[in-house]
């Protein structure tokens, strides 16, 4: 479904991602982990198009999307959520999701100009909010609702795009133990419903619990890949995490 070939990028002479190859199969829930500074976020940015790679290519469902802008990828069903939740702060929670639910209408500015019918988008957005259990906050401005809600709202926004591949950048960060576990369950459930998911996460406990495959990134390259239990048992993976501090400095 998603394939990154020989992806590399350097910042000021430092290779942040060096020749990474990876494949994500339809229907899977893959975890992308690695110590601080391993290049996870950079790799994610390369895959989603926030950054253009120095070399290598990204294919989505067999199409080369390396040069495709983010919004076009999103329209194809290749959707990402941000590490730090980025709501449209002055809109209500419902409006936040509605904008995402209307991508078919907002695809072309000129079409958007002549479209005033908000009913279909509203109905879909309301359904999504209900499904994520945040319907009670629908009419509150996004800037005033707590983080747990925003995280869910962000997923609702992503789901409104009818994604086939969802890339989640540290969705559990900032949540407490119970919240994180519940949120992880939600992710697993979405996957079970047929959405392919790539999860970049620091919360190793939850990732190993729900992911069926792990990719460990270290120093900008893939260090290990496989079933979570096997990967976490490897010595080089443990060393990478324990020695993370020095590496983080070297790559800062």
């Amino acid at each position: 479904m998603l394939e990154g070939r020989d992806l590399s990028i350097a910042f000021g002479g430092v290779r942040a991602v060096a020749g990474v190859n990876l494949r994500v199969e339809r229907g899977e829930l893959a975890g992308l982990i690695g110590p601080n500074g391993a290049g996870k976020t950079t790799l994610l940015r390369l895959l989603t198009g926030v950054l253009a790679p120095d070399s290598g290519s990204v294919r989505f469902e067999g199409r080369d999307v390396t040069q495709m802008p983010i919004h076009r990828r999103a329209q194809l069903g290749f959707v990402l959520t941000h590490q730090i939740v980025r709501p449209f702060r002055d809109m209500t929670v419902l409006d936040n999701v509605m904008v995402a639910a209307a991508t078919q209408v907002t695809l072309r500015p000129w079409r958007a100009l002549v479209s005033v019918d908000t009913r279909p988008a509203r109905l879909r957005a309301q359904a999504l909010l209900a499904r994520l259990g945040i319907a009670d906050a629908a009419d509150k401005p996004a800037r005033s609702v707590p983080l747990g809600y925003l995280k869910r709202m962000q997923v609702a926004r992503a789901l409104a795009l009818e994604p086939r591949l969802l890339m989640l950048d540290e969705p559990l960060a900032g949540l407490n133990y119970t919240e994180a576990a519940r949120f992880a369950d939600l992710i697993a459930q979405l996957n079970a419903e047929g959405i392919t998911i790539v999860l970049v996460e620091h919360n190793l406990g939850e990732v190993t619990r729900i992911a069926r495959r792990l990719l460990v990134l270290h120093n900008g390259a893939v260090l290990a890949e496989g079933v979570p239990r096997d990967v976490m048992a490897r010595h080089d993976v443990r060393d990478a995490y324990l020695g993370a501090d020095q590496d983080a400095v070297a790559h800062a």
Partner: protein
């Protein structure tokens, strides 16, 4: 009567200018400090056509297209730079326009373009300008209600988030610049025919700031607020002719006071007092 007509006409032109800028800055969140350049482009485009013998309607349309075309170019610049960088780049666009026109003999350089045919009378121009202002007012209210307005809002509040939910941020920015600058071009075309004389200085940085001031005094993003701001700031210098000597002092002080005590402008005041948000 003539005096009131000409004041009303200028107020209407300022409404067109301010609503155009509000589309770019208020709706789509792209700060522009060079709006007068597009007013000027419309005026020069229309004037050249009219002097060459085209009918006024066509000339004004050409002026709008010229302004809109340069607006699209500026929109492309807005894809490269954001926020404060964009503010200074647009300010630069204004200085560039002015500094280039000043030196172009075919544009009359500092002398400007004179003897622009003027087929309408004072009532005609007043009606035309007011008609344009009303049209733009309706357009603004419509945009706000349409999906374009919602997409603008998303771009204004967080470009990256907008992209990640599939919104064509570049397309919307360029659309906003096109509509807003073409509106300025319309105002310019009417102005050129009405005054029959245009000179570069009428479109300088102070004019850009004046338009911006109308938008922020009215309340950036609020269509009705901006209309009120434009009308108020047009009438104020006229009403304050008796304090002639302190005009700019009062004007600058007013800008400062609004920003200091009600940064959301008149629309913010209305909201605070009545609890209602102006459209």
């Amino acid at each position: 009567m003539d005096y009131y007509l000409s004041v009303a006409t200028f107020a209407a032109l300022n409404v067109i200018l301010a609503l155009g800028l509000n589309l770019i800055s208020g709706f789509c969140g792209q700060v522009s400090l060079g709006h007068a350049a597009f007013y000027g482009l419309g005026a020069y485009g229309a004037a050249l056509c009219s002097v060459a013998g085209l009918p006024m309607g066509l000339s004004v349309a050409v002026g709008m297209m010229v302004a809109g075309a340069f607006g699209i170019l500026t929109g492309f610049a807005a894809l490269r730079v954001r926020e404060d960088f964009l503010a200074i780049v647009t300010m630069g666009v204004g200085f560039l326009f002015l500094g280039a026109v000043r030196k172009q003999a075919w544009l009359g350089a500092e002398m400007g373009i004179a003897k622009i045919p003027s087929p309408l009378d004072k009532w005609g121009y007043a009606m035309l300008a007011i008609g344009g202002a009303v049209a733009l007012l309706l357009l603004s209210l419509h945009v706000r209600r349409s999906w374009m307005g919602r997409a603008f809002g998303a771009v204004a509040q967080d470009e990256d988030a907008a992209r990640s939910i599939g919104i064509d941020v570049s397309g919307y920015k360029i659309a906003a610049f096109f509509i807003g600058t073409a509106a300025a071009g319309l105002a310019g075309g009417i102005y050129a025919h009405m005054t029959q004389l245009i000179v570069p200085d009428a479109f300088n940085f102070v004019q850009s700031v004046t338009i911006l001031a109308m938008v922020v005094v009215g309340g950036i993003g609020s269509t009705l607020g901006v209309v009120a701001g434009a009308v108020l700031l047009t009438l104020m210098p006229e009403m304050f002719r008796f304090i002639n000597d302190y005009k700019l002092l009062v004007y600058g002080g007013l800008l400062l006071a609004v920003m200091r005590f009600s940064p959301e402008g008149l629309a913010g005041l209305v909201h605070r007092w009545t609890g209602r948000r102006l459209a």
